[in-house]
Symmetry: C2
Subunit: 337 residues, 2 copies
């Protein structure tokens, strides 16, 4: 437990230690117990609910973010990523714990990470309940940093969503992404390196620079989806991470249900078009790697699709009707329904 | 979520994938919900209890373990470490999630790690609820591996231990460690490298080799301490990790309580004596870095000390009466009471 333990090098500076502590405590609601020692964090959870938990790393977006001085934002992405993963099963965020490791800890980098985590935790409603910093010169490359984190949440018994309600005839909606979110950065960086184009170059077809587009934060779909989940109209959700739209939607489909995704149902954003062109990436690889503009997939009954799409749009989402569910072998195909 | 997602390279081999899945499911009690999609793990928790969570990395013990082909055991140490951290606050393990990262994932190494985690999770009673593997060639050194993990647990409201019950006159007991546990490996490796002595060399004063002594597993104190916690005789616990006996005991002392640790109350085990001599480590540095043979510190009322020590010994612990609590400035000093 980093935050309450003065023994760690990164906290030798009192100013940094104080800033870390403030960033952490900003995320604590009344459910977090003040606790001497702090070997673990403690908090109240809603009684009788199910525990949900997921753990992830930021991945290679971190290197790009570090290069662009955007470490805090990339760290926040880890929180949004974990919170969206919980959302897929109907769960709400409750607590987050992080791991930050370098060859030699750079206190300013650790602080940027924790401040980014803190901001995102406040946004999704998770208490930053603990964390660990590790200094491992034989494991990490000089100057590199890795950040991983565990998101813990809750869902009421009987409100778990896992796709078992999906039926042939259901509709598939796609919610707009803000960019790559946290997947496909290894490929994106390879394209960037080969292209010889800098992060400051304008992105064709968009009023922004390449760097800003590449580092756009991972969107958090809770504000739109949590009220919709309460209403019970959602049959399945799929967070579009590694594996793309099809790979992730396939994870939540029951037997006998085949999703058909119409690739013409939405316009692929400029960043993905640039990556595909500059990297000469085959369309199958694009689809298996990138979200292509769809960050979350929603499956609902055909009769609810219009009202649900309207409600999600009212809460600020871009909503595309991207396909439907047919009877057939479990899986996802790219074809016009 | 690694385990249920076929998209990750490390799982390209069906044999490894199956073995990973079995190692994970071996840890699942009836509280874990089978869940399509598996963006997060879900399980039941005892109603009305408090959530406890802690996250740690194995640290530089991993490099040594890898060198000695003992990766699985070192991974298990992460589980014992987290479980002991929960125990300090009276909490019991419930679920564990791990993060395994390399420059290029080596499936056999990942499998060894997950099998080690699985065995230890079964032992402490935690479900291995999720995990993530990351491949980051720009972040990790070739051949290196990092493993971190989050332990989630529960404690009944009103049964939280945080040292606030400690009073002057209390006794301090020390429970024997098995070796370095998971702290002090950076220093230990430096000593080892400088000494030029190999892991196969016999450890003076012990019937074992240096490598085996250095890689002895982190002990899990739950079987002895959980029944004692039920009986309510324990005023404080301190898990001896980074910072040593004094550094960790100080974390749980209330104002006005000063612990006096008698360094002559137990015999420092041969491994620590060898490290101190071979590395010419000053005694203050030894005390601030190593557990010196005491892996967990227990504070209780003087009248309960004899019975508690007897009960802990009956459950297989080595128990030393290592000091007492005096009235004074909050802190820990090394002196004969």
């Amino acid at each position: 437990m980093r935050y309450r333990d003065a023994g760690v090098d990164v906290e030798r500076s009192d100013a940094i230690k104080g800033a870390l502590q403030r960033a952490v405590e900003r995320t604590w609601g009344p459910g977090v117990l003040p606790l001497r020692g702090g070997f673990a964090g403690l908090m109240r959870g809603p009684g009788g609910a199910l525990l949900a938990a997921t753990l992830d790393g930021v991945g290679s977006k971190l290197d790009l973010a570090r290069q662009a001085g955007a470490l805090a934002a990339a760290a926040g992405d880890l929180v949004y990523h974990g919170a969206n993963d919980l959302l897929v099963h109907g769960a709400r965020p409750l607590a987050f714990l992080d791991y930050v490791a370098q060859a030699r800890l750079e206190p300013e980098a650790v602080l940027a990470v924790v401040e980014g985590l803190s901001r995102a935790c406040v946004e999704v409603g998770a208490a930053l309940l603990g964390g660990e910093t590790a200094e491992m010169p034989d494991t990490y490359r000089p100057g590199a940093i890795d950040v991983a984190g565990c998101m813990i949440g809750w869902v009421e018994d009987g409100r778990v969503i896992d796709g078992s309600a999906v039926r042939p005839g259901d509709r598939v909606l796609g919610l707009g992404s803000a960019g790559l979110h946290t997947n496909g950065y290894t490929l994106a960086r390879r394209v960037l390196d080969r292209s010889g184009i800098g992060l400051d170059a304008p992105l064709p077809g968009a009023g922004t620079r390449l760097g800003a587009a590449l580092l756009a934060p991972h969107r958090w779909y809770g504000p739109a989806l949590l009220p919709a989940l309460e209403q019970g109209a959602i049959h399945a959700l799929a967070h579009v991470t590694g594996g793309g739209i099809a790979g992730n939607l396939a994870r939540v489909l029951p037997a006998g249900c085949r999703a058909r995704i119409d690739p013409g149902a939405w316009e692929v954003p400029p960043l993905f078009r640039w990556l595909a062109a500059a990297g000469e990436i085959p369309v199958d690889d694009q689809r298996a790697t990138f979200n292509l503009g769809i960050g979350m997939v929603v499956v609902c009954a055909a009769r609810d699709a219009g009202a649900l799409a309207g409600a999600l749009r009212q809460r600020g989402e871009q909503v595309f009707e991207i396909g439907d569910i047919a009877a057939g072998e479990r899986g996802v195909e790219w074809s016009r329904p």
